[in-house]
Symmetry: C2
C-alpha cells in the first residue's frame, strides 16, 4: 500500500471527530431515573466523570433526572440554547424510535449522534433495514454517527464518560476500541485492576457509519494516546483501513485482536453482528503490510498494550535476563530463541563487574543468576551493571519467591535503579501467588510491565523489537509499470461484451503481453504441418499443448507433450494429442495445439496468482507450484497495490525460500525477474477491478530469469 494523496484527506479531517468525542454539550435522549437502565447509567457516568460542558437529559414526562432539569425533546434543547443544538446527541431509546429522534437531531443540526440502542443489523433483516434508514438520515444531514448497538465511549482527557460501563476506566495513554460490548466491559474492568490506563475507550457497535479506520485516524491525532489497541471481528473497508494503518503505525503502535478467523469462529461472528467474513488470510496480509501488530490471543492484547504504553522500544534484539532462579531463566532463554530475540552477549567489562558483585557459584553469563539467597542490594546492583552493557537492549528481571528478603524491599530498590535507565525497556516477572500480587501492583504503579510467567514477557519484548524495525522502514513507494493500456482494455472489454467470464488462452496471453510480462513463446498450430513450421521458428525443442476453450485441465486428457525436437515427433505428437482429446472430450471444440518454447533448464515452477477479496480487494499470492502449495500451504499473500518491499517480503516469507536462494550447489534464481512478475500482476489487479482471478502457473524461474508458461484469467460475474 502506498502513501499517496491520503495525507491530504487526513489533514482535512483533522479534528473531524471533535464534536463526537470532545463535545461542548451533550443531550441524552432516553435519559432515565430508573437504575440499571442504559439511559440512566450513561447520564450518571457523564455526571460522575465530571464533564465540564452542558448536559441535557431528554424525557417525554420526567421533570428532573439525577438532579438535572429534563427537556421534552431535542428541539427544546435548541430553543433553550438560543437555537444552538448540542454537539452530541446520545440516543438510548428503543430501536423503532431511533429514526425519529435522528430526524429531530438533523433538523436542529446536531453535529454528532451516538446510538446506544440495539435491535439493528445484529437481529436480522428488519433490523438491517432500520440500520440502513438511520444511516441515510445521518449521512444526508452531514451528522457523524457512532453505533448503533454500542457501549458508548470514554474520553478521559475531556472527562467524558459517555458509556454505560459499570465502572470508570483508569486514565492513561492507551486508546482502545472494540467491536464487542462485552469485551469492552471486561476491558474497562481490567484497566482498573491491571493498571492499564486508557486515554480513550470507543465502542464501535455495528459500525453503520464510523468504523475502525475513523477511530484509528482520530486516535492517531489524539495527543494523549500513545498506543492504539482494538478488538475486531471484521474490517469494513479494507483499503481505507490499510491506508490509515500504514500512516498510523509509523507514529504509534496499533495492536489488534481479530476474532472469527476460523470457520467455527466466523459462524459464531455471523450470528453475533451479522458480519460474514471468514477469509483470515486477507486480514493477515493487511496487518503485515501495514505494520499492525496482531495479538494472537486475548490476554496478549493487554500484555502488549501495557508494554507499549510504558516502555521505550528496544534498540536491538539483545535480551538480558537477571534472575534469582534457575528453571525460569532457562524458560526465558528458550522463549527468546523461539520469538526471534537473542540472549545478549555481555561484554567482558560487564562480566568483570558481575564477578565482583556475585558469589562464586553464580552464573555470570546471560541469564545472569544472582542465586536464590540474593538480597535487594545484590539484585539491583546486578541489574544496574547489566543495563549499562551496550549489548543489552532490553532487560527482564525474573524473581521467584525469595525466602529471606521481603519482596517489597526488592521492588522498591529495583524501581530506583530502573529509573536510572529510562532509555532501555525493562520488564519484570514475579512468579507465584500470594505476596507477589502486591509487588506486581507496585511495579505497575511505577510504570514497569510485570508478568506472572516468563513466556509472555519475552514475547512482548520480541513484538516491541519487531515494531521498532518496522517503524524505521520508509513509507513504500509505488512502482509504475509500462503497459499498453488501450490494448489491455480492448481485450477485457471484448470479453465482457461477449459474456465470457474466462478469457481464452490467446486473449489471456495478449493481455499479459500488453504488460510486457515475460511469457514463454506460444503459437497456435491448426495442423501438424503448421506445428512443425512454428517449432522451426521457436527452435531448440518445443512443447505441444492441446488448444480447446472447453478443456481447462490439459493433462487430464493427455494434452501436454514436452521436449519435442524432430519434425516427425512433432507431427505424430500433434495427431496423438488431438485424437485423444477428441475421443475423451467429444463435447470440446479442438482448435489444434499450442506450440510452446521449452522451459529454461533447471528452473523452478512457481505460481503467481491474483484473487479478489470482497473487503480488501486484490490479493496477490506467491508460492511453489504443485505439492508444496497443496500440502504445506506454503503460500505468501499480500494485498495490491504491492510495493517493492512487499514483493521482496512475499518471496522471502515462503518456507521453501532457501531453495530459491540456491541449495546443493545450485545457483540462486534471478530475484529481480521474479519481483517484476509479481509487480506486474499487482499492476494488472489495479488496472482492472473486473478481474476476479488471474493465475500464472507455472512461472519458470532460474538463475537466468523468470518466464510465465500458462495464464488463466477469470472476470467477475
Amino acid at each position: 500500500m502506498f502513501y499517496r494523496e491520503y495525507t491530504e484527506s487526513i489533514m482535512q479531517q483533522q479534528g473531524f471527530l471533535t464534536p463526537l468525542f470532545n463535545p461542548a454539550s451533550i443531550a441524552v435522549v432516553g435519559a432515565s431515573s430508573k437504575k440499571k437502565n442504559p439511559g440512566n447509567m450513561i447520564l450518571s457516568n457523564l455526571l460522575e466523570a465530571g464533564f465540564k460542558g452542558k448536559i441535557f437529559p431528554i424525557h417525554p414526562e420526567a421533570e428532573n433526572i439525577l438532579g438535572l432539569a429534563a427537556l421534552r425533546n431535542l428541539g427544546a434543547v435548541a430553543a433553550l440554547a438560543g437555537g444552538k443544538a448540542p454537539d452530541l446527541a446520545i440516543i438510548a431509546v428503543p430501536a423503532a424510535r431511533v429514526a425519529g429522534v435522528l430526524r429531530e437531531a438533523a433538523a436542529i443540526r446536531v453535529r454528532a449522534a451516538m446510538v446506544i440502542s440495539s435491535g439493528f443489523k445484529e437481529t436480522g433483516r428488519a433490523g438491517a433495514e432500520l440500520e440502513r434508514e438511520i444511516t441515510e438520515i445521518a449521512r444526508k444531514a452531514g451528522m457523524l454517527l457512532l453505533g448503533p448497538n454500542c457501549l458508548g465511549f470514554i474520553n478521559n482527557q475531556a472527562q467524558v464518560n459517555a458509556s454505560f460501563s459499570g465502572s470508570p476506566a483508569l486514565p492513561g495513554n492507551v486508546g482502545f476500541f472494540s467491536q464487542s460490548d462485552s469485551l469492552s466491559s471486561a476491558l474497562i474492568n481490567w484497566s482498573q485492576s491491571g493498571n492499564v490506563g486508557l486515554s480513550a475507550f470507543i465502542g464501535l457497535g455495528n459500525k453503520a457509519m464510523l468504523d475502525e479506520s475513523d477511530i484509528i485516524a482520530y486516535l492517531t491525532q489524539d495527543k494523549n494516546t500513545r498506543v492504539i489497541a482494538g478488538y475486531l471481528e471484521s474490517i469494513e473497508h479494507g483499503n481505507r483501513f490499510m491506508t490509515q494503518a500504514q500512516l498510523t503505525t509509523r507514529q504509534k503502535p496499533v495492536i489488534i485482536l481479530r476474532a472469527g478467523s476460523t470457520a467455527a469462529g466466523a459462524r459464531a461472528a455471523s450470528a453475533h453482528t451479522g458480519a460474514v467474513d471468514g477469509f483470515d488470510m486477507a486480514y493477515e496480509a493487511a496487518f503485515k503490510q501495514t505494520g499492525v501488530i496482531r495479538a494472537r490471543y486475548t490476554e496478549e492484547l493487554f500484555h502488549l498494550a501495557r508494554a507499549f504504553a510504558t516502555q521505550p522500544l528496544p534498540q536491538g534484539p539483545g535480551l538480558a535476563v537477571v534472575t534469582n532462579s534457575g528453571g525460569p531463566g532457562i524458560i526465558a532463554a528458550d522463549e527468546s530463541e523461539k520469538s526471534g530475540l537473542t540472549m545478549a552477549r555481555l561484554s567482558e567489562h560487564t562480566i568483570d563487574a558481575l564477578k565482583e558483585t556475585l558469589p562464586a557459584f553464580a552464573s555470570l553469563y546471560n541469564p545472569v543468576g544472582v542465586t536464590n539467597n540474593a538480597d535487594e542490594k545484590r539484585i539491583t546492583r546486578t541489574v544496574d551493571i547489566v543495563l549499562q552493557d551496550p549489548n543489552t537492549h532490553s532487560v527482564l528481571v525474573l524473581i521467584t519467591p525469595p525466602n529471606f528478603t521481603p519482596l517489597e524491599k526488592i521492588t522498591e530498590s529495583l524501581v530506583a535503579v530502573f529509573k536510572k535507565h529510562p532509555e532501555k525497556p525493562i520488564f519484570c516477572c514475579f512468579m507465584g501467588g500470594g505476596n507477589l500480587v502486591e509487588a506486581e501492583r507496585s511495579m505497575f504503579k511505577a510504570g514497569y510491565p510485570c508478568y506472572r510467567f516468563p513466556e509472555p514477557a519475552v514475547e512482548v519484548i520480541a513484538a516491541m523489537y519487531k515494531y521498532g524495525l518496522w517503524k524505521k522502514q520508509p513509507l513504500p513507494v509505488e512502482v509504475g509499470y509500462r503497459r499498453e493500456i488501450n490494448k489491455a482494455q480492448k481485450i477485457i472489454y471484448a470479453a465482457k461484451n461477449s459474456g465470457e467470464y474466462e478469457l481464452g488462452q490467446p486473449q489471456a496471453h495478449d493481455l499479459f503481453h500488453a504488460y510486457e510480462m515475460p511469457m514463454l513463446k506460444t503459437k497456435l498450430a491448426r495442423t501438424s504441418d503448421e506445428a512443425v513450421q512454428i517449432a522451426k521458428q521457436l527452435g531448440n525443442g518445443v512443447a505441444l499443448k492441446i488448444a480447446s476453450p472447453q478443456i481447462k485441465h490439459k493433462t487430464d486428457v493427455g494434452g501436454v507433450v514436452l521436449g519435442l525436437d524432430h519434425p516427425n515427433a512433432i507431427r505424430s505428437a500433434f495427431m496423438e494429442v488431438t485424437a485423444k482429446a477428441k475421443r475423451l472430450r467429444p463435447d470440446a471444440y479442438i482448435a489444434g495445439c499450442y506450440v510452446q518454447a521449452m522451459a529454461p533448464a533447471k528452473s523452478h515452477e512457481m505460481v503467481v496468482g491474483l484473487r479478489r477479496d470482497p473487503r480488501f480487494g486484490a490479493m496477490i499470492f506467491f508460492g511453489f507450484d504443485g505439492i508444496n502449495q497443496e500440502v504445506f500451504k506454503d503460500v505468501s499473500c499480500r494485498i495490491a497495490p504491492l510495493s517493492l518491499g512487499d514483493v521482496q517480503a512475499m518471496i522471502r516469507e515462503i518456507r521453501a525460500f532457501p531453495i530459491l536462494g540456491g541449495m546443493h550447489g545450485q545457483r540462486s534464481i534471478n530475484f529481480v525477474a521474479l519481483e517484476d512478475i509479481l509487480l506486474i500482476m499487482s499492476q494488472v489487479a489495479q488496472d482492472f477491478p473486473e478481474i476476479q482471478e488471474a493465475i500464472c502457473s507455472p512461472v519458470l524461474v532460474s538463475d537466468r530469469g523468470a518466464v510465465v508458461s500458462d495464464v488463466r484469467v477469470v472476470l467477475a460475474k
Copy 2:
C-alpha cells in the same frame, strides 16, 4: 514402547519409597535455631505440618532446637531408640560434610536420606566428584537418596513438610515434582492462591540417585494423587522413563513442562544444573509415545493440572459454550477449531427448550448467547438445558462483567446446576478484573476450573479430550520380526573388528537382507561386461551406481545413471561413470559399478532412518526424501522399539501424508509394506546397540509395495 516384564519389577517396588516419603521417624542433620537457615526452616515446617512421628534435631552443640532436645549425631539417635535408626535422615550441612554424615547414616542403617545442601554437580567438576562419592555411599548401603541440591518434599497426606519452602502447600490431589527449586517455591505459592491442591510435592534436585521415573512410579501408586505434574530440564534414563510413563498414563494423567528445548535454553540449563541436553525431538517423541501431556508454556502446566484434578474427561469433542457476550464467544469458537474440538451441534430438543428460555434475539445455536442483561436464573437454566444434550461433551460458561446481576448470585446458582451434572466436564471463564476475582475464587472452592480468558480454557478441554482417547488405547504389543541373527551378528562384528565404522555397501545390504528387508536387487559389476551380464539377470532396465568406499555422495561425481536398457548403453555408461569418478576423486578406490534393478514406476521416494540419542536410545525417523525433509522439516520421529501403533502414527503425522493416501487420482500406497520397513528398522536398532546411525534412502513406495534402494550403516565409535 512395550509393556513387557516391567510390571513385575514395579510390583516388587511397591512401597519402596515409603521410608522416604512416609517415614516413621526423621532426623534433621544441620537443624538450627537460626531463622532463615534451611535447617531451621525444615524443622519448623515439619513441626508446623503436624508430623506424627519422632523428629530428632542433630546439632554439634545446641541442647534444644525449637523445643526439641537436640542430639549430637545420628549414632546418638540410634542409641536413644534402642539401636533403631530413623527412617529418614534430612541432611542440611555444608557440602563438604555431607559424605561424612551419609557414612554415619549408612553405619546405623538409615533407610532413606535427603540431601538439601547445594555445592555439588551444579557448581562444576569438584562438586560433581563429591556428588559421585555420596551417591556411591548410598548405593553401597542400599539407602535411598533424594537430592542433593533440592528444596525437599511435602507429603500432605502423611503431614510431612520436609521442605524449606516459605509457605505450606494447600492439600489436594495433584502430585508435583520439579527439577528447579525456584519454580517449586513459586508453585507452592500458587497452590495457595490458585487453589491447586497438592497431594505431594517433590523437589528432584540433582537427581544423583532417585529421578523422575522413581517419583512417577511412587505417585502412580499414591492413592491421594489423581494427577501427576512436573517440571523437567532433562530426563536421566530415557528407557526407564518411557516404560514407567507408558504404564502410568493408562491410570493417571502425567503433565510435564520441559525447559531447555532450544539451543539458548539448553545453554542456560547447562549453566544451571550441569545437564547437557539439547535434542528436544527425542523428548517430543518420548512424550507422544507414552501419552505424557506436554505443557507448552509455564502457565499451561497449572491450567492443565487444575482441570485434570477436578473434572471428568470429556467423552467426545463436542464443546458447548454458554455466554452472556458476543466477542468472547467467537474467540472460544475460533479456539475450539484450532485445538481440535468441535462446537457441539445442539439437538432440536435442546433448541426448542432454549427458545422457551431465551429472549427472541438471543443466539440459540452454539455459542449459546443468553444476552448481556441475563440474570442468574436465565443463565443457569440455559446451562442446565445445554448440559442435558447428548451432543454436549463439555461446557464452557463464559461470563463478562454483567451490569445488572451481582456476580455472586450467578456463581452460586451456577455451582448448584453444575453439581447436577457430575459426569460432564464443566469450565468457567470470567473476564475482567475487580469483583471477578472473588467469583473465580468461589468457583475454585466449589471445584470448577475458572479462567480469565477463553483461549486457555478451550485448550485445556482439548487436552483432556485427547488424553481420554489415549487412555482408551490398549497397551502396545511387540511385533517380532524373523531374522537370521547369526548372519547379522557376523557382519556387525566383522566391521567392528576391522575398525571400520561405516559398513561397506555390500555389507550393509547383506545386513538388511538378514532381516528380510525388501531391497532393490543390486550386484557389483567389476567390468562393463559383468554389468551387461547382471543387467540381463535383473531384466527390465537397470541403474548403474559408482562403487567406491570413499565416495559417499555418488551424484556429486556423476556416479549415478538411471534407466539403462541396451547392452551398449550399459557398457558405455559403465566406462563413463568409472572414468569420471577416477578423474574427480583420484584418492578413491573404484571397485566398479553397482548394477541395480530400476525403481517401480510412480513410486514416492521416502527416507527411513535410525539415529541414537544418548538418553533415549534409538530414534527412528520417517519422511519424504529430499526437499520436504530439508526445507519443511517434515519428519516424524519415535523411539525404538516401535509398536505397530507407533509406526502408523509416524506415517500419518507427516504433513505430506495426503500424498501417500493418493492425490489427483493416484492410488494409495501399500501402507503395510511401508510399516514393515519401519518395524524392521526398529528391530535392527534393538538387536544392535552398536549401530549409531542407519539410513534407508530412498525407500521407494507405491501402490504395489515398498522397497529400499540404498542403505548406509554407521557404527558407534
